[in-house]
């Protein structure tokens, strides 16, 4: 089992980890020959939120080498905080430090029977002298058998796809709603409308966005007016845990475009694009199961 890569875009990697750090104390990364998959699938997650992502190697790494008996795939369990700390030290973008990173090499290592993901950083100090920093993050390499058991949640055909407003803006609103309710209703229709609302005994708050884009899926026939299939004004609702929605909104640090899919009364799927949609370096897919609550419907 061999694994080594130069981290070319440290800030991107850092922000991806930052986006999911709050979700799980330990999470999985599956490295394949083409992609890096970040997986958070713990049952104990807030509101059952999960993340399944696929990130192109090119968008982060160069000199990527991987070799294993398990189809050249390596799946590891990493402590998110430690990984984040290592990447933070590697990124020269920190505003308080004038440390300049020259090269960051990540490799799989083993010391004293402990598997490590080691980061070797060579950089320059503010006066241009060389500094070498090495971080060893303790990891666990998963057995192929266990990897096989990982499975992504299944969901039916989404009722609606809609482009979300900038997540930062959503976040300010949802943060205001959080003290008032534990459950957030997300509604959207096929006519550019998105609503976030809470409804409790004491308060009812509704925020509506018009002019959100409904992206075309490839199955859609552009000639066919969508009304024929469905009434575009019909709102599809899903109730989710407001805390888990906020966890998803942590990904605002990395997102450019986010598409939300609603499977009415079943779940919500959020695709957070890293980089431009057309040339996305990857996508973080958040899955938030619906809370089934008759009153809220």
């Amino acid at each position: 089992m061999r694994f080594r890569a130069t981290i070319e875009h440290v800030p991107t990697f850092f922000r991806i980890v930052q986006a999911i750090e709050k979700l799980q104390r330990r999470f999985l990364i599956k490295f394949t020959e083409a992609n890096m998959h970040i997986i958070c699938n713990s049952d104990a997650n807030e509101g059952g939120i999960q993340v399944w992502s696929q990130i192109k190697l090119d968008s982060i790494f160069t000199n990527y080498r991987i070799q294993s008996n398990a189809n050249n795939e390596i799946t590891m369990v990493l402590p998110s905080e430690a990984l984040l700390a290592a990447l933070k030290s590697a990124s020269s973008s920190s505003p308080t430090s004038s440390f300049e990173t020259e090269e960051v090499v990540m490799r799989l290592a083993k010391k004293n029977d402990q598997a490590l993901l080691s980061f070797e950083i060579s950089g320059l100090t503010r006066v241009g002298r060389k500094v070498r920093v090495a971080h060893d993050v303790k990891i666990e390499v998963m057995k192929p058998g266990d990897v096989e058991k990982l499975s992504e949640p299944l969901c039916p055909e989404p009722d609606v796809h809609i482009l979300l407003p900038p997540l930062q803006k959503l976040r300010t609103i949802v943060e205001r709603l959080r003290p008032m309710s534990d459950i957030l209703a997300v509604r959207a229709n096929n006519n550019k409308c998105l609503q976030l609302s809470i409804h409790t005994e004491g308060v009812k708050v509704e925020t509506e966005w018009k002019d959100c884009v409904n992206p075309k899926t490839q199955e859609d026939n552009p000639d066919q007016p969508p009304e024929e299939a469905r009434n575009p004004e019909e709102l599809f609702t899903v109730l989710v845990s407001i805390r888990s929605f906020l966890k998803f909104l942590n990904s605002h640090v990395v997102s450019t475009t986010t598409i939300a899919c609603i499977c009415q009364h079943h779940c919500m799927i959020l695709y957070v694009y890293i980089g431009d949609v057309a040339d996305a370096g990857g996508v973080l897919t958040f899955y938030i199961p619906a809370i089934i609550d008759d009153e809220g419907r």
Binding site: E33, Q54, K130, T217, Q218, A278
Partner: protein
């Protein structure tokens, strides 16, 4: 005592108090006609901070309390007047750190009103009165109760003969330490091991088992050229010392806000680290105890032991030879000092007209303005105290604490062992990288055999649950895999 600060000097004064508050809760004030010094010691007596202000720092400064005219002796021998007091740093800071203070205050008057032990008009307590003259003629007056310090204490003077000396700017130091993540808990106080070699300085995080879960997952090592230091004089390179970061970071922050350079002095792994930060009218001394890299380092050193090369072993014995002796030498001068130094036995009043104390300071060149309950010790090097206990020797309870600290060194053999372990772990820490490669390669080969080939199913399948239902721009074409395929045969560790 009366001291007046204008708005420009209030800011550094507040910064100094912030730094002092990081060292300890209790602030000791020691005023002489020439200077005012403020000091603090942490609860375990392993760190000490003292900031002295020349009287020029203040727009007005006098110790003698003529106006009050209560103490007759003040006018008689004004040169020898000293004044001590003690209060919670927090209580001063809560006044000064208020957000409106910085903008609004034009002048700050500090005065100490002595409690009338003999002529108690104001009650028996001394008070620190802080008068803030703000804009629009607003005057805020705070009266703080001043406690009576029970004893005076000073850090032992460093032994100059084998002293290592470093000078560095706070920013450069901050840049180095920033690479070592600090877990968010208030309790967390990581320790760093510094190895000063001939040309390089290596810093290494020292994990102890009591760390929060997150932090034990990461170990960090930094190597930097010795040129980063403006002055770099190491007595006997390589030298390794280890100390906690909490107080050190407070010192860096203070030096940074004051834009002053830092001078670090240390002797042995067991002797404390001295840091001087000198400004125009201020002079700050920080003393931080260093610790043996022993119990906590043992687990880490077992990593290393497997990968030792012959070269390293040779160097170790070299280091060992020098290190067995040196800590022993350090103990003695400071113990001797303890005996020689007249112990300041302050009177149970806040105002101490003690010329004896002053003399003593001159003698040691270490004015000890601070005062603490008599027992003090630090776990270094058997029972060597960092601060000289002024009124009593270690109590039985203290010894028990020491023992509990796990650093107890009973016999010479144990000490030797301990030091040996330390030298191995830290001094040559970074040189272990190359042999490590070989080790790792071997290990990985083994590890690899444990894994069986499996079919690449899972992730494809998971993503395809969306793939099949919706094929749209969010999904990535599988063909990006192909460019990378060729690389997989190349060995990774070269």
């Amino acid at each position: 005592m009366q001291a007046t600060l204008d708005s420009s000097s209030l800011k550094p004064f507040t910064k100094a108090l912030i730094c002092l508050s990081k060292y300890g809760d209790e602030l000791s004030i020691y005023a002489t006609p020439e200077r005012l010094s403020l000091s603090a010691t942490n609860s375990s007596k392993s760190a000490y901070c003292r900031i002295k202000y020349e009287k020029d720092f203040f727009t007005r400064y006098r110790v003698a309390d003529h106006q009050e005219g209560r103490n007759d002796w003040t006018s008689d021998n004004a040169e020898n007047i000293t004044l001590t007091g003690q209060l919670l740093t927090k209580s001063l800071l809560s006044i000064l750190k208020h957000r409106t203070i910085e903008k609004a205050v034009e002048r700050c008057e500090l005065s100490i009103v002595e409690g009338g032990a003999g002529n108690g008009q104001d009650g028996p307590e001394s008070k620190l009165i802080m008068k803030l003259h703000c804009k629009h003629g607003i005057v805020k007056t705070h009266r703080l109760l001043l406690l009576t310090p029970t004893s005076l204490m000073a850090p032992g003077a460093p032994n100059n003969s084998n002293e290592s000396r470093l000078t560095i700017g706070p920013k450069a130091l901050k840049d180095m330490i920033e690479h070592f993540p600090v877990s968010k808990g208030i309790k967390s106080d990581p320790q760093l091991v510094w190895s000063f070699g001939n040309n390089d300085v290596a810093l290494k995080s020292l994990e102890s088992s009591i760390d929060s879960r997150g932090k034990g997952q990461l170990s960090t090592e930094l190597t930097i050229s010795a040129e980063e230091f403006e002055v770099y004089t190491i007595d006997e390179p390589p030298t390794t010392i280890a100390f906690h970061l909490r107080e050190f970071n407070a010192t860096i922050a203070y030096a940074d806000t004051m834009s002053l350079g830092m001078e670090l002095r240390f002797t042995d792994p067991a002797a404390p680290l001295f840091i001087d930060v000198e400004g125009d009218c201020s002079e700050a001394l920080f003393v931080i105890s260093t610790s043996q890299v022993s119990s906590a380092g043992a687990s880490a050193s077992s990593h290393r032991r497997n990968v030792n090369t012959k070269k390293r072993e040779r160097e170790e014995t070299l280091g060992k030879a020098t290190k067995i002796k040196r800590p022993m030498r350090v103990v003695q001068p400071s113990l001797a000092m303890e005996r020689d130094q007249p112990i300041a036995n302050p009177e149970p009043r806040s105002c101490v007209p003690s010329s004896a104390v002053c003399q003593e300071f001159r003698q040691t060149d270490m004015p000890p303005p601070s005062s603490f309950p008599g027992h003090s010790s630090f776990m270094e090097k058997a029972h060597e105290p960092l601060f000289l206990p002024s009124s009593s020797q270690l109590s039985a309870a203290d010894e028990a604490v020491l023992r509990a600290s796990g650093l107890e060194v009973g016999t010479m053999d144990e000490l030797t062992e301990m030091l040996e372990g330390e030298g191995e772990e830290v001094t040559f820490g970074f040189t272990s990288q190359p042999p490590d490669f070989g080790e790792r390669r071997g290990c990985q080969g083994n590890a690899e055999e444990r894994f069986e080939i499996i079919d690449e199913t899972e992730l494809e399948a998971t993503q395809s649950s969306y793939d099949s239902s919706k094929v749209w721009a969010t999904q990535f074409p599988a063909d990006i895999m192909h460019d990378q395929n060729c690389t997989s045969d190349v060995p990774t560790s070269v």
